[in-house]
Amino acid sequence: MTESVAEPAVSMRNERVDRDEVFLEYTKSICPVCKVVIDAQVNIRGGKVYLRKRCKEHGPFEALVYSDAQAYVDSARFNKPGTLPLAFQTEVKDGCPSDCGLCPEHKQHACLGLIEVNTNCNLDCPICFADSGHQPDGYSITLEQCQRMLDAFVAAEGEPEVLMFSGGEPTIHKHILDFVDLAQATPIRNININTNGIRLASDKRFAAALGERNGRNGKAVNIYLQFDGFEERTHREIRGKDLREIKRRALDNCAAVGLTVTLVAAVERGLNEHELGAIVEYGIAHPAVRSVAFQPVTHSGRHVEFDPMTRLTNPDVIALITAQRPQWLRKDDFFPVPCCFPTCRSITYLITDGTPGQPDFVAVPIPRLINVEDYLDYVSNRVVPDYGIRAALEKLWSASAFMGTQTTEEKLARTAEIFDCGPDGSCGIDLPVAARDLAARAFMIVVQDFQDPYTLNVRTLMKCCVEEITPDGRLIPFCAYNSVGYREQVREQMTGVPVADVVPNATPLQPLVTQSPHGSKIAAPDVANVGVSPVRLGPSG
């Protein structure tokens, strides 16, 4: 019979088979071993987003980049048109990511600039993307170098919103207070100091000196404090030491001199994943703390061995927070940040009242009060309900948003306009009073995943708005600086000591890597064509 053509055994042999993935993007990345620029593709498989690439020399690589494919695709609408900086520092020559930067092809200005003042640190953490520590071959910048870096930032941005001093450990630089003074003498509005808190815990005069500078001429000096959790094991495995008492003293010293603190937690699989809710709760309760930033451990620089296919991404961190504090937060309370690529960073703000743990404590996420999507969708919306509120939300959902700065407080106050309602315009509420009250009660939660040599996607990198300022006056996107070879280049230029390219300590790369002098991994001597990234061979880098 003719119907019998559908005989299973026959059709099995001739049937075409579908791929198990949706092909989403074609882009560029780098080989994590030799750092050469290679083609890459982004695919969705099993509801997750992966980046895959192949180096002719070192083989295929694949890594998880976002564990919620739906959110990855949906967030494309929240991609804000970039803003041109006032000046670019390099020319387009070899293409991204070899021309940093910023080159004229970069799609966004710098929302946040970083100056690493040294490579030395008073800790030797097993996890450090800057590969810092007690090292004999490091560098510290001079006052003149700092001034040049500040000038480059101001030339590019005019009135930069935020500058962060980092390291190394910036508080052990003998000129750190002078650097703050230099920065405050420029048009830069606010300063953040990224620190492990050891000096703040032990040196009250230092804390007081920062406190005096905080708010000078309306310019904030805020603290960005490493704070990974409450368990001894968390401290030992991420920082190599039990720093719990030091963190507590540092926070109390900050509170005593009126410094505003962001708790910054590196989140590691199987280590402190269960502590995220407790960190938020501790932050809300502490008088110095106005925000928490969660960063999946960055697999650049020094870190423990990891599996690129199961690394933590932003949706995982958000899922952990919401599972641990479901009474306060759920997934859609976090909103992607439109200034960089929306998959890099998500933020929410809570309006809180009372003390966590007490029965009358309440926390309301701002995205439940304002339909943020109505304002920050740049693709489907042609009518925005209120452009003033959009401008406020753009500042709040930005890499330049830090609690305790005038800009952030002002923009938070604008959220009180949700009560601008009713026939008489305000529902009878004293808006200025309500606005100040709401701004003062706001608590910010940031989730930020940095790219590493495995996950680097040039499409995303081209819109990065967090820039490392180099002593020679370049502004290099943070993830390029840490993944492509620029960090090694700058260190080598500054110290005169050769620095081999750092290779991720990934499980599949174990046969190819060996220990570097700083504790990170570098290519083993018998691996072909490695050691110095192609970006370091050109005249400017």
Binding site: N371, P423, C427, G428, L438
Partner: protein, 267 residues
């Protein structure tokens, strides 16, 4: 006044009141502008089309359809306060020529026969006491081939829990919601043929979340205002809990429904 008029007057008065503005803010219906856009796309609203927005409230939908779709919109509402706010907002936005607002009753529309390409009616059909008359009015003002787009509260065949049907005031506004099939039958009785039904139940939960968030923040920032506006927070929260439970039990839902008036269209 008969009981129908009581309900209508209640709804109009309630939605014009400060207390409701205080609690609802700008989101007078589940789904907000996102669902309004979806409705506009489903209706295939195009530039120059003439749209009637029935129970238009303060006019956000009318302005959106004009600005994003290029439509000419006539909004009708039973509340003079809402019509005044809508007219003022349209004038502020420089849209007075493109959107106009009229005081009127959906069951006796102050609009001419056969002139409209489409009608939108968001979260309001359920509040019309005489739905058959309202549907006949829809049909009267539509041209042949015109379309109705409704988003509204639906209830399961077994109806609402008793506690939700006998609550007073603005709460009564959802007490007359019907199963979606019944909305379709009512429209069919006026010669309007249902062509699309989409379920958006989760949007009711989002709206409840938003109301609860607003009330909580108002309690923090301006507790005296809630008292002055006559908002009994405990009873509002009790009511919201009942509605949430009803949504979770599939007793209450939210639906987008499209119906066509037969005849030659421009499609």
């Amino acid at each position: 006044m008969n009981s129908h008029d009581d309900v209508k007057a209640c709804c109009a008065a309630v939605y014009g009141r400060n207390a409701v503005a205080l609690i609802l803010g700008d989101s007078y219906h589940p789904g907000g502008s996102g669902l309004t856009r979806r409705l506009g796309r489903a209706l295939e609203v195009r530039s120059g089309m003439r749209i009637a927005d029935l129970a238009c409230g303060p006019g956000a939908t009318a302005r959106l359809l004009a600005a994003e779709f290029g439509a000419h919109v006539d909004g009708v509402d039973l509340s003079a306060v809402a019509v005044a706010r809508a007219s003022a907002a349209a004038a502020d936005a420089g849209m007075a020529a493109q959107v106009r607002f009229h005081l009127g009753d959906a069951e006796a529309l102050p609009l001419p026969d056969g002139c409209f390409d489409a009608i939108v009616c968001e979260c309001a059909f359920c509040t019309f006491p005489d739905k058959a008359t309202a549907a006949a009015e829809f049909s009267r003002i539509l041209r042949r081939g015109g379309r109705v787009g409704i988003t509204d509260v639906t209830v399961a065949d077994r109806g609402l829990p008793a506690e939700l049907t006998d609550l007073a005031g603005w709460i009564a506004c959802i007490a007359d919601a019907r199963p979606v099939e019944e909305y379709s039958r009512i429209l069919a009785g006026a010669g309007l043929r249902t062509t699309l039904i989409e379920t958006h139940d989760e949007l009711v939960l989002r709206m409840i979340d938003q109301i609860q968030a607003r009330i909580t923040v108002l309690q923090i920032a301006a507790p005296h205002r809630l008292v002055e506006a006559g908002v009994d927070v405990d009873s509002v929260e009790h009511y919201l809990r009942l509605v949430r439970a009803a949504v979770e039990d599939s007793l209450i839902g939210y639906t987008l429904l499209l119906a066509h008036k037969p005849g030659q269209g421009q499609e």
